[in-house]
Assembly symmetry: C2
């Protein structure tokens, strides 16, 4: 298994990308191609006392870098020798099995869609992070790749999320829920009502396990394995979780820093807090799968450190090994409102 | 100031409603009319050793109770002698200045809209809770009174939320943000893009202080005083906050209950945790304002205890005293897309 890693994308690039890749090669049984400015990559290795490229690690030179100020829709075309474009071309030509980037989400999304293409019949690719829940996490699909929703998009997201949960997260018969503001099928807007009917039919046909609408609170508690949502609402859900988690962490920190007794208390619960922090930490998951593209693409968090990059590579490996893209291709007929439009 | 309280609505009715009303009469300088089954109300008072109605507390008898199984859209009409219908009739006829109910949200919303009516020109009434944020809370409008959104609804929600924040929460020049998935005006769906243009125009005209799009994370951190949203997304935001808060609380509890040291730690930070809990506790606010109706209506939380009911009565008092409904009436022309449709 060979993973292509954008060495130049992200807040801590190229250092964290290079070090994360090194760790992945050592620990995860994968080969990695680092795509980016060769001299920059070698500089990081040299800083770590590594003179020669270790076995399993290659460099593919790309002279340009996609910056946050570039137009995300066209960056890959305007900067043909960017790590993004060179990396995705490698993926396309079969030079590697999956692609990981911590660079601009918008640029990655556009480039992957236009260069690698969606699975035939899939209307929209979706960003599907694994969010922490009371029961070990759930796939949230979509969290903002496409703001607008249609019932057919949601039907496809449900299949894509279900395959991902089953094949990559190893959840047998994953419970699929439609994010909504009430449990009854009549709740929400026309979008949710129509999607509810489509998902119910897919469940009756035995193709997914649709457990009905799920309210945001119950979704956080872990009532389902897959949270199906239009990109706008999914993004609100994800960012509210992150915001609330961050807000509470900050409050807790100030509670523990108050005086010598509270500081002592912090020491006493340090183990538990560390475990909890790990559970809530997005760097544990590594990145967000871009599902619906015909090859595996992982968006790592922009602020990824070495550890998060390594975990994103692990996730890319599992995604590529899962065979779930074949599932999409084989079952695409059941994911359409009407045949022949694909 | 006289507040009409539905004595029969909510999980702890009538006990908490009666006791909350008693506390309000004693502490808040208001009179209260308890609407409901007279003998049930007197029974609660008797249990507390109160034989005669204290000054400031009245009972208006209503023989029926709206139950959760009643059709929310028609319950007030089918149960004409319910505490909901009798209470709202009292409000309509000027027998009191505001109405508080902890009963079914849907039934209250329908009844208030159809019996008391919206302010002329207001398209939809909105549920506007004050959510805890890093900066003392923000008005979230709408959190689910109407699932569907239109640009005009959002424009009106922005005005309503702004008046409420200024007049009731005493925030001078409240910062109004549009809940969205990015800061740029081009972000979101057509709904947000069109609303952004309307809110920008209202800001330029000096009528509200629109600070632009606000992402869910920044909204939680307290970047704005008013979070404008369609009811579907607002509900996702609110329930995700509640869910994440509840999930983290549960995890923390288990961390503190682990062993004798962690239990000792819990004692050491008990003061800080209590303060924090108070900040996150919805019973501190009391209830959710139903804004856009021509008289003040407060929806108290279904699980309200005595303390939450008292605070909901306080909120109803402040709402009624604020004069913000007059603001709506006076400024309605600026809140319409086209004149004469009201």
């Amino acid at each position: 298994m060979k993973i292509i890693v954008d060495a130049m994308g992200g807040d801590n690039a190229p250092a964290s990308n290079v070090r994360g890749a090194l760790a992945a090669v050592k620990e995860l049984g994968v080969e990695v191609i680092l795509v980016g400015q060769g001299e920059e990559i070698l500089k990081v290795l040299k800083e770590d006392g590594i003179g020669d490229l270790p076995p399993g690690l290659e460099i593919a030179h790309a002279s340009q870098v996609v910056e946050m100020c570039d137009n995300p829709a066209t960056a890959f075309r305007e900067k043909k020798d960017s790590s993004l474009t060179v990396g995705l071309n490698l993926l396309k030509s079969g030079g590697g099995d999956a692609f990981v980037s911590a660079g601009s989400t918008g640029a990655l999304l556009s480039a992957a869609t236009l260069m690698i293409h969606r699975v035939k019949g899939i209307r929209r690719a979706a960003l599907a992070p694994v969010v922490p829940t009371g029961k070990g996490g759930a796939v949230l699909i979509d969290c903002g790749a496409t703001a607008e929703g249609t019932p057919e998009y949601l039907l496809q997201f449900a299949f894509m999320g279900s395959y991902y949960a089953e094949r990559v997260l190893k959840r047998p018969e994953p419970r699929v829920g439609l994010l909504n503001i009430g449990a009854e099928p009549s709740k929400g807007t026309d979008l949710q009502r129509e999607a509810h009917a489509l998902l119910t039919a897919a469940d009756k046909a035995g193709r997914i396990r649709f457990v009905g609408n799920v309210e945001a609170r119950e979704a956080v508690y872990g009532e389902v394995d897959v949270i199906v949502s239009d990109g706008y609402s999914g993004n609100i859900f994800l960012k509210t979780m992150e915001g609330t988690g961050g807000f509470i962490s900050k409050q807790l920190k100030s509670i523990f820093m108050k005086n010598i007794f509270t500081k002592l208390a912090a020491v006493m619960v340090a183990g538990g807090l560390k475990e909890f922090k790990k559970m809530m930490d997005s760097s544990e998951v590594g990145g967000t799968a871009l599902i619906g593209i015909s090859k595996p693409v992982i968006k790592a968090h922009g602020s990824s450190n070495d550890y998060a990059i390594k975990n994103a590579i692990r996730q890319a490996r599992d995604f590529a090994a899962s065979g779930m893209i074949d599932d999409l291709v084989e079952n695409i007929e059941y994911m359409k409102l009407s045949a022949g439009e694909g």
